[in-house]
Symmetry: C2
């Protein structure tokens, strides 16, 4: 296992527990899956988006309502709603000129609640 295409060892410590490393590596999901998982949580990792999600958990709202509730510009809210929609966390319906947003997933509430539980316990 040496030569031009050998993987570069980024850490050259002597105390490598190779058996554990191999065992854990075998149990890890595919790299791509874990990347997707991180992308998913990243959506919750912004206070504006969390506030939007929390608001929508209470009631369907139009873009304008959310902007007023959070005292932010319509543009900023619209940009974040796009992120939330791409993550399949919210859905929208159009009624004339007005677009109403609501939660698109029953998990959203659970995930937020679980995070809140952690926050409150520490």
């Amino acid at each position: 296992m040496a030569g031009p295409n050998a993987p570069i060892d980024k850490c050259d410590c002597d105390v490598i527990h190779q058996d554990i490393i191999d065992w854990v590596r075998d149990k890890m999901p595919r790299e791509e899956t874990l990347y997707d998982l991180a992308e998913f949580f990243k959506v919750f990792g912004d206070s504006t988006r969390i506030r939007i999600l929390w608001a929508l958990a209470e009631s369907e709202m139009c873009v304008c309502d959310i902007a007023n509730l959070l005292n932010m510009t319509q543009s900023a809210i619209s940009h974040q709603l796009r992120v939330l929609k791409q993550a399949a966390l919210v859905k929208s319906r159009r009624d004339g000129k007005v677009v109403y947003y609501s939660l698109d997933d029953e998990h959203v509430q659970q995930i937020i609640d679980q995070g809140m539980t952690h926050i409150n316990e520490k």
Copy 2:
């Protein structure tokens, strides 16, 4: 409610549903709480940290092991472990020169699992 100190309305739409806004505002947690919640989820929103958490869910590991498992530098791993420790998601114990890390919270597994469930369903 006008004058030099009046709050600036960031959105001047006509179709404001003021009753809904007031009702939702009343049910929202404190701004600071939602900020903390976003900070909490932000920790899960990085693939390196998610991979570290997943690995530690399988077995206690030293910094060097994690670096080799993920093929990253010891420094990069150490920096991320600090973030995870500050978020109270991992704990460490020292054994001579070697520092072993493990999960510090029973919620971590649940939160990751729930995120994974969402990923797999969409």
